[in-house]
């Protein structure tokens, strides 16, 4: 009976632990549950509670364009996006409703975008040139034409500033196989013309780039510069 009383005590403590601004609903596979619950209880395990992932294996979602996020989640759900990591990590989320996808996209797009970090100066300089001017002699357009002057993205074109360099390089390689990310077809024509070194450069530049006003996940508002300057 001693064991039973221990369990009762623990259950009581757990039941009592509730507060207004925190999330502890566990009904994560229920279509009626709000996107914020799913973001905190599920997505945060890889992407961070504020959408700033620690591991470069997982993209930062904070400040990402809402339309882009909706498109990706729709594609994961329908198994249209079929790059290896999409299959490994994201294909299980078939139970998300349209409403939840919208709420998730709103949640992460409204998080403060990630601050940039230091990068190899040579790579960053080369990457800046490619980002702003493209590689004209091979017909590679400037990345900034679609992704914004500061890499902030626009609509269906994702924010790239502050993203993990390793993630960007791997996605550029994925785009070389157009069928894996059908919505990225426009990127396919560009990526097949880029060398591995150019991909690394532009990724290093973007990882180091920060929005004019970046708010690091846990520190509140901080004024930072931009590697793009």
């Amino acid at each position: 009976m001693k064991g039973v009383s221990r369990w009762t005590l623990l259950a009581t403590l757990l039941g009592a632990a509730s507060c207004h601004d925190i999330e502890h609903s566990r009904r994560t596979d229920d279509p009626a549950v709000g996107g914020r619950t799913i973001a905190l209880q599920v997505c945060s395990n890889c992407h961070g509670a504020n959408g700033v992932s620690v591991s470069p294996a997982f993209p930062k979602l904070a400040g990402q364009q809402k339309e882009y996020l909706v498109n990706q989640l729709m594609d994961f759900r329908a198994h249209r996006r079929s790059d290896p990591n999409a299959q490994r990590y994201m294909w299980g989320f078939t139970h998300l409703s349209d409403a939840q996808i919208g709420q998730l996209a709103t949640y992460f797009s409204s998080r403060p975008p990630p601050a940039g970090g230091p990068g190899d100066p040579v790579l960053v300089d080369n990457g800046r040139a490619i980002f702003r001017s493209g590689v004209p002699d091979r017909g590679v357009p400037a990345c900034s034409a679609c992704h914004g002057a500061q890499g902030e993205g626009a609509g269906e074109f994702p924010r790239l500033a502050g993203q993990h360099a390793d993630y960007i390089v791997k996605q550029l390689v994925v785009f070389q196989h157009a069928e894996q990310r059908p919505r990225g077809e426009v990127m396919n024509a560009i990526c097949v013309k880029l060398t591995a070194q150019e991909m690394r450069s532009v990724a290093a530049f973007l990882e180091a780039s920060a929005p004019r006003v970046a708010i690091p996940a846990d520190l509140g508002a901080t004024e930072t510069g931009s590697a793009g300057e």
Binding site: A49, S55, W91, D166
Partner: protein, 457 residues
């Protein structure tokens, strides 16, 4: 010449295993633990570092600490099997007696059935039952198989998470101290992940009680907390898995000399503290744990004696784990040292003194490329006080055993692993040479172990 014949025979048997492997490859492709993959829709590498089950990634640890509840409820069944072959360097003692009975023969070693997964939004379970095909030999020499409870862990979990705080509060009910742990440096899920079940000399014979002696003998109830993915703390209490808990120790019972039940006096505490930090693709843990266990003696017929007092084992362990996880590279390193102090006032186990100690060090480093090709190297070193009653197989009555285990493995599909492991002993029961006083050397126990390990739907 005989050497060449032996090698050829070994290669032939390896072929048989390989053909078996190909057969298994045609089985439906679902990852290990297939239930969890089905439940989350994610693949093995999401939770297992470089696909090397049972090593967990940071996400795999969160999955377990959240009570196996991520995803949607699914059919809670999966199976697992091992086919393997053990080859001992010198497989006969000085009198010519065989040491490892199935030596050099490919065997269907064991099969497990799992009942696991999400039960409710806060409750989940991992339970395993295992059949050992070559469990022991009857008086006529025939092999007898045996079903038994294997690792089990039931959890009730709540997670309170906000923008700046993340608190997991959980309770666990399980049957093996440290089976509930999420780092592969603690004993239950540590290296070697698979090893010879038929050879009596393929591993150190004496280890601290934390390293397996209480597995599937006890029931443990505990509570844990993990705060901001930084500090983990747990307290559990263990008692004998009898009465309503006997399903956790199924296969062991009083009076069964092949599978005696271990009896604990009262509640035996276990504690665990760990500090963790992740940065970029790196993840590190520094931890400590301990147990205080009071064990009743069994008589010659494997019946417990409750009237003669107990032997008390007090283990304190320190462990660390480092992981680098970024495609296509996975590097993992684990280190653990356990110091055990034993008090045996009635000389139930030890004969030369009323106190004894054991020390056990285990180091392991792995590299996996593309979650497909792996190599690892492990070092182990057991030290301890001498005793003529506890360690009669040693000429100098010492438990000290030391050696290295290199291993290569291949994961052709994510739920399947083929491995080649070699354990080389530099010391066995107290000496490098003539450890038993009858002329046997430590390296005579060197063991080659080839395995196929697969898990299915």
């Amino acid at each position: 010449m005989t050497h060449i014949v032996a090698v050829r025979r070994l290669l032939q048997r390896a072929w048989i295993l390989a053909i078996g492997a190909i057969g298994l490859l045609h089985a439906p492709c679902a990852p290990a633990l297939p239930i969890f993959a089905r439940q989350t829709g994610q693949s093995c590498v999401a939770c297992h570092a470089g696909g090397q089950f049972p090593e967990l990634t940071p996400y795999g640890r969160m999955f377990k600490l959240n009570g196996y509840t991520f995803g949607e409820r699914t059919v809670p069944l999966a199976v697992m099997a091992t086919l393997d072959m053990t080859k001992t360097r010198v497989n006969h003692d000085t009198s010519g007696n065989i040491i490892s009975p199935k030596d050099g023969l490919p065997i269907f070693d064991a099969a497990s059935i799992f009942l696991a997964g999400k039960i409710t939004d806060r409750i989940g379970a991992f339970t395993q039952f295992t059949y050992s095909n070559y469990d022991h030999q009857g008086s006529d020499g025939r092999w007898i198989g045996h079903w038994a409870s294997d690792n089990m862990d039931f959890r009730y979990v709540d997670r309170i998470v906000g923008d700046a705080d993340d608190l997991i509060l959980g309770t666990t009910l399980h049957n093996n101290p440290s089976v509930q742990d999420v780092w592969n440096s603690s004993p239950a899920w540590s290296y070697p992940y698979v090893s010879s079940s038929t050879s009596p000399v393929a591993a150190p014979q004496f280890l601290p009680i934390m390293e397996g002696a209480l597995a599937q003998q006890v029931v443990g109830a505990g509570g844990y907390t993990y705060w901001n993915r930084t500090i983990y703390a747990e307290l559990s209490l263990y008692s004998t898995a009898d009465g309503i808990w006997s399903f956790m120790s199924k296969g062991s019972k009083a009076g069964d000399t092949n599978h005696p039940q271990t009896w604990l006096r009262g509640q035996n505490p276990y504690w665990r503290l760990a500090l963790t930090h992740d940065w970029g693709p790196h993840s590190v843990m520094l931890g400590t744990f301990g147990i205080n266990a009071q064990v009743y003696p069994n008589d010659a017929n494997a019946n417990p004696i409750f009237t003669q007092g107990v032997t008390r084992y007090r283990d304190i362990g320190f462990d660390a784990q480092y992981q680098y996880l970024l495609e296509p590279n996975t590097i993992t390193a684990q280190a653990r040292y356990i110091r055990e102090n034993i008090s045996d006032p009635q000389n139930l186990v030890y004969g030369d003194s009323k106190a004894a100690n054991l020390g056990s060090l285990r180091l392991k480093l792995s590299y996996v490329y593309q979650a497909r090709y792996g190599i690892s190297l492990s070092f182990f070193n057991v030290t301890g006080s001498r005793d003529s009653v506890a360690y009669p197989g040693s000429a100098n009555f010492s438990p000290a055993t030391q050696g290295w285990t290199p291993e290569i493995f291949w994961i052709p599909v994510q739920n399947f692993r083929f491995g080649l492991q070699y354990t080389h002993f530099t010391k066995y029961l107290g000496a490098r040479t003539n450890y038993d006083g009858l002329g046997r050397n430590a390296s005579d126990n060197d063991t080659l172990f080839v395995y196929l390990w697969a898990a299915y739907w």
